[in-house]
């Protein structure tokens, strides 16, 4: 489990399912392949001689850079998934994520307005789900993706029960 300097010490982080990598890969493929196709269209047209502009070097560079960036992000995905962690503490839920841009967040149970579970098509096929926590602040972008469905259900029940017990006003 990857932990960074900003994480509270001696926390037993729960990891999300390694299968979540597959979900991310599918998302990556859908987003990046489409972008790559669009970006390399000028290159094809220039090579076919249909277009005079842009010059060849530009038509090559743009998709090449996009490809490199996409591959870089692809290489990061497994590590990013490994970096996602959560921990239930006595009064709040800790969620961490990120390798380069790390974030470590604490959501008090008493502040949770509601918890919901979202399941996308790929996640459903793999038996995964995403738990989202909502507080009165939209800045609380607290989602734990890639949880196995039973664990997600357990977490939701657990959070709801704890939230109920500690519910404070706004």
């Amino acid at each position: 489990m990857h932990t960074g300097a900003i994480d509270p010490p001696s926390i037993a982080w729960q990891r999300v399912s390694p299968q979540y990598v597959t979900v991310r890969l599918v998302e990556w493929a859908v987003a990046n392949l489409a972008a790559l196709l669009v970006l390399s269209a000028p290159l094809v047209f220039v090579l076919l001689g249909w277009w005079r502009w842009p010059p060849l070097w530009l038509a090559v560079t743009v998709p090449a850079v996009a490809l490199v960036v996409a591959l870089w992000r692809l290489a990061l995905i497994p590590r990013q998934v490994r970096a996602i962690g959560y921990a239930e503490r006595g009064d709040d839920l800790l969620i961490r994520s990120g390798i380069f841009f790390q974030r470590s967040m604490a959501v008090p149970y008493g502040r949770m307005q509601y918890v919901d579970i979202a399941v996308g098509p790929v996640e459903r096929a793999l038996g995964l789900c995403t738990v989202k926590l909502h507080t009165a602040s939209p800045g609380t972008n607290a989602r734990i993706p890639g949880l196995p469905a039973p664990e997600g259900a357990r977490l939701r029940e657990q959070l709801a029960a704890r939230g109920e017990a500690r519910l404070a006003g706004l």
């Binding site: 900003i6 709040d92 841009f101 470590s104 967040m105 008090p108 800045g139 609380t140 404070a168 706004l170």
Partner: protein
């Protein structure tokens, strides 16, 4: 509720709603807004119809032609009939909308039913009222009407609006809602509300209120005491020296130079519409900020402002989620500050301009006035020397006032502001300060912290610093502590969690007058705690004590 939410009961005459002499706010009664309100609200549509039909006649009259063309007599019945039909449909629509819009205050809830074809029932819990506004647009003012608008935290969407009521009724209703929201009048807890409220109508004040007792009947308006007023001259000055003016001057100079260089006069043409837009914007600010006064009452902070359209806001105690105090560079010679707040519901409701003006706690004020407003927002500053701490937060640098700043090793990340960027924690609030030229101080009461996140990018990791973000409700204030030293940030993250937890435990209910089980403690005990790294000393100092003290003093003065 016995009258049923679906159809207007035959015994409910509209006069019950309009007459202020009838006990307009008794429990469980379904009331309607003022009969004139559809026309006040729909005057624009009526004016459009009048304009549409009148323009032709007017143009003819101007051109000296006969007002009625020949053959008019033949078409006159059709025209008149058509016009009358459109007018009748419009008026009927307004009247029906009015007839089917009814509201009720009972048992801890305000319910508003509206809609003719698509019925809408809205129900708002009174102890979740975040703010109440009384708005008087110009036309409504002429008729002595006002709109009552309140934000409720659990309504999810925008405010609950009642437009329009007679101004006295609106004030009365506001007092009733606030009295119940505060717990001064037993509004029955949400559990018992439905049963008790329905079976026994007009139970107001029947039970023995455990808190400060109020007489039965309609709740009296809470007394209020003026705190400050912003003179118009200062408002104008602040507008002239605003950031906007700065960019206007820069843009004007640039366009003059450009036109001189290129020998092209066309630039002036572009300036004209821009100037019109700017004039409108200045007018808007002036109109909204004119005659700004702030007052304090047991029901919270009262803000009043407006030249043509008057608005009176009431912010109950403890509803302010975060405060921001800013000083643009041009205001510095005058020592002016602007204060903005986050209130749940304000950030999301209505259009941008409205949301913007409603979040202003103080359009322009000097340091003593800022302190006065802060004392209203945060009655217990949680420190022995609030003036010193806040002054350090507004103008200070380095460690004065107990602030912890960005460590020297990270000065490259914020070459100008690193000595300002910092935080200080009192017993009741976290202060975050930033900005060398655009000075900014953000206050977040501990009990209002929603969630927190530590963030660190690669560059920040290299310098061993981190950002701490506090999440709050939508609004102009986005608390973010920039480039705090890693160890300090981590300690703050832990301590802040603990402080917020304790503050939440202390706050037992949303009803602010009931919040304190009145312990016989005559004076507010402010622990003379060293500012800053206090181990979150939890004295059961009731937050409201000092406010009560304020009120008592105010009553003596008033």
């Amino acid at each position: 509720m016995t009258a049923g939410g679906q159809l207007p009961g035959p015994h409910l005459l509209p006069s019950a709603a309009t007459g202020p002499k009838s006990n307009a706010t008794s429990d469980g009664e379904w009331l309607r807004v003022h009969p004139a309100s559809p026309f006040v609200r729909g005057w624009f549509a009526l004016a459009a119809i009048a304009f549409f039909f009148g323009r032709d006649l007017f143009e003819r009259a101007l051109q000296g032609q006969p007002v009625f063309e020949e053959g008019f007599a033949r078409r006159a019945p059709w025209l008149l009939g058509g016009g009358a039909l459109v007018l009748a449909v419009a008026v009927l629509g307004f009247v029906l909308t009015w007839y089917f819009t009814r509201y009720q205050v009972s048992g801890g809830y305000v319910r508003v039913n509206s809609g003719l074809l698509f019925r809408q029932h809205r129900q708002a819990r009174l102890d979740r009222v975040q703010a109440i506004d009384i708005v008087q647009p110009l036309l409504a003012r002429i008729f002595g009407l006002a709109e009552l608008k309140f934000e409720v935290a659990d309504a999810g969407q925008s405010a609950v609006r009642l437009a329009y009521l007679k101004i006295d009724n609106a004030r009365q209703l506001r007092a009733t809602i606030l009295a119940r929201a505060s717990g001064a009048v037993p509004a029955a807890g949400p559990g018992t509300a439905s049963a008790a409220g329905m079976s026994a109508p007009s139970v107001t004040g029947r039970w023995d209120p455990p808190g400060p007792a109020l007489p039965a009947g309609p709740a009296p308006e809470a007394p209020e005491f003026a705190v400050l007023a912003v003179p118009p001259s200062r408002l104008i000055g602040s507008l002239l020296l605003s950031e906007q003016s700065f960019f206007i001057v820069v843009g004007g100079v640039a366009s003059v130079i450009l036109s001189a260089l290129t020998d092209n006069r066309a630039f002036y043409l572009y300036l004209l519409p821009a100037a019109l837009g700017l004039a409108a914007s200045y007018w808007n600010f002036f109109n909204k900020g004119y005659n700004f006064t702030a007052a304090i009452s047991p029901d919270g902070i009262r803000l009043r402002y407006g030249l043509l359209d008057i608005q009176a806001q009431t912010l109950p105690p403890g509803r302010i989620q975060a405060v921001k105090i800013v000083q643009p560079p041009l205001w510095r010679p005058f020592g002016w500050y602007r204060m903005q707040v986050n209130v749940a519901g304000y950030g999301t409701s209505g259009n941008a301009v409205e949301g913007n003006t409603r979040t202003i706690l103080l359009p322009v004020g000097k340091f003593p006035e800022v302190l006065a407003m802060l004392s209203l927002v945060l009655p217990d500053p949680g420190t022995a020397q609030p003036a010193v701490v806040f002054a350090a937060g507004l103008t200070g640098r380095d460690t004065g006032g107990g602030f912890v700043t960005t460590p020297r090793r990270a000065w490259l990340l914020a070459p100008l502001a690193w000595r300002r960027n910092g935080f200080a924690a009192t017993d009741t609030a976290l202060l975050i300060r930033s900005g060398r030229w655009w000075r900014e101080l953000v206050l977040v009461p501990h009990q209002r912290t929603q969630s927190m996140a530590l963030q660190q990018g690669p560059l920040a990791r290299w310098f061993r610093v981190a950002d701490l973000v506090l999440h709050t409700t939508p609004g102009p204030v986005a608390p973010r502590l920039r480039q705090a030293g890693l160890d300090e940030a981590r300690r703050l993250f832990d301590e802040q969690s603990a402080r917020a937890r304790l503050a939440r435990k202390r706050q037992t209910t949303e009803q602010w007058l009931r919040q304190v089980v009145p312990a016989p403690e005559p004076t507010p005990v402010v622990e003379p705690d060293p500012v800053g790294e206090g181990e979150a000393v939890v004295e059961p100092v009731e937050i409201l004590d000092s406010r009560m003290q304020n009120q008592q003093e105010g009553q003596r003065n008033g």
